[in-house]
């Protein structure tokens, strides 16, 4: 790359000059003084203008790349992206939703239209050399064209709070035919978490398990894998088994401070749907835990 080579050239040049000078003109006698050389205007003008020219070339190249990046081509595949603390929700043109995963076809211009629910995030796919901030209160867009089939990391690269580092996922670049098949395959939803989120709303779980902890049931944020204090004073770890049991036999283990009001979902959900719900609750692990109304046992209780 041009910029790298030029910079390397100057770095090596100056370093060599310094090293050469350091040895050639090292002091040989204690009282020795240097020459009376004071300056050279021609030289000054030279080493002002030449780097300036080179810098301008770099600038022009960078500006062209950037302008192309900011102005998306026509006929793109538009994906809607919402960032929130600390997950990405993505939506395909046909409405299919994913969490922390993005499936796209190869050799197609992809445009992401991005908004944020809370703080500033940044969608970054290192393999495609692109990123863009996701700013609350407005849309930002970015586009790219994947050219190789494969799975690539994407990250949040604008610091957004506690779990900034885990707010990422995978971009799967697929053959267009595979992509089309994946897109139309509603039943075998490739993303359990997204399916779980849908179920969470459809089954009206969301009406009681409010995220902010003010609902009739405890907030599920951060609960997965954490310790839960039960009404009888015992403590259980909220693992997959516990979540499954709580869905099917909600009266078995009641969280301290809550009434046994949850109906059973025995026979209403399939095993696969339970898995999906569990996958969704897993993603809530990184969500902010409310001070009151959390499912998690307080730290002191956990130590008991």
């Amino acid at each position: 790359m041009f910029v790298l080579l030029t910079c390397l050239f100057f770095a090596v040049l100056v370093t060599l000059l310094v090293i050469y000078a350091a040895f050639r003109y090292r002091r040989t006698a204690p009282g020795e003084v240097g020459s009376t050389l004071e300056g050279n205007t021609l030289l000054e003008i030279g080493w002002t203008t030449i780097p300036l020219m080179i810098a301008l070339v770099m600038f022009a190249w960078g500006a062209v790349v950037y302008t192309n990046y900011r102005i998306a081509p026509k006929d793109t595949l538009d994906i809607y992206v919402v960032g929130k603390q600390w997950m990405w929700k993505l939506q395909q043109p046909n409405g299919k939703r994913e969490i922390n995963e993005l499936h796209i076809p190869v050799n197609r211009d992809i445009k992401l239209i991005m908004g944020s629910e809370d703080v500033i995030h940044d969608f970054y796919v290192p393999a495609f050399r692109v990123k863009m901030d996701v700013v609350p209160g407005r849309y930002n867009t970015m586009w790219f064209r994947p050219t190789k089939i494969g799975k690539y990391h994407f990250f949040c690269s604008q610091y957004c709070g506690t779990n900034h580092a885990v707010m990422g996922g995978w971009v799967t670049v697929m053959d267009p035919a595979d992509y089309a098949a994946w897109l139309s395959d509603e039943a075998a939803d490739s993303n359990p978490a997204a399916a779980g989120e849908k179920l969470f709303t459809q089954l009206a779980c969301v009406t009681c398990h409010l995220a902010n902890g003010t609902g009739r049931a405890p907030s599920l944020n951060g609960v997965y894998g954490a310790k839960v204090l039960l009404a009888d004073g015992s403590i259980v770890v909220a693992d997959d088994a516990y979540i499954r049991e709580s869905i099917l036999q909600p009266k078995a283990k009641i969280v301290a401070g809550y009434q046994p009001v949850m109906p059973t979902f025995q026979g209403l959900v399939t095993e696969e749907q339970i898995l999906n719900l569990t996958a969704y609750i897993k993603t809530l692990q990184s969500q902010p835990v409310p001070a009151k109304g959390a499912g998690i046992a307080p730290a002191a209780a956990g130590k008991k």
Binding site: Q91, E117, Y139
Partner: protein, 113 residues
């Protein structure tokens, strides 16, 4: 450094000019000149500020150095305002909607529903 003593006569003249400026700017604000209202208000304000700086603050009679300091302040303030505004006025958001789009537009109006 012999200091310049400004005569009270000048001060009185400036005072009257400032009061006149206040009168003018208020009466101009109460009439509708379209976009020119802003221009008039700010021009009069700047004139008044200039009078205060030059005469009350003696910038007119001060060494060049002081005048340079004043100009630096104005220049950097202009820098801050104009360079930032250059971003805002040239922003074009998605679908050509100028900033800002309404809050949570995407969430309430899902593009596919």
């Amino acid at each position: 450094m012999s200091e310049h003593v400004v005569s009270p006569k000048i001060y009185v003249v400036i005072l009257l000019a400032l009061l006149l400026g206040t009168y003018l700017t208020v009466s101009a604000a109460l009439r509708d000149f379209g976009p020119w209202n802003i221009v008039i208000a700010l021009t009069i304000a700047t004139t008044k500020a200039l009078l205060v700086v030059l005469f009350f603050m003696h910038a007119k009679y001060s060494p060049k150095r002081t005048q340079l300091v004043v100009m630096c302040a104005v220049f950097w303030l202009a820098l801050l305002l104009f360079m930032t505004m250059s971003d805002y006025v040239s922003r074009v958001d998605y679908r050509g909607v100028r900033y800002p789009v309404s809050q949570n537009f995407f969430l309430t109006h899902s593009p596919h529903s």
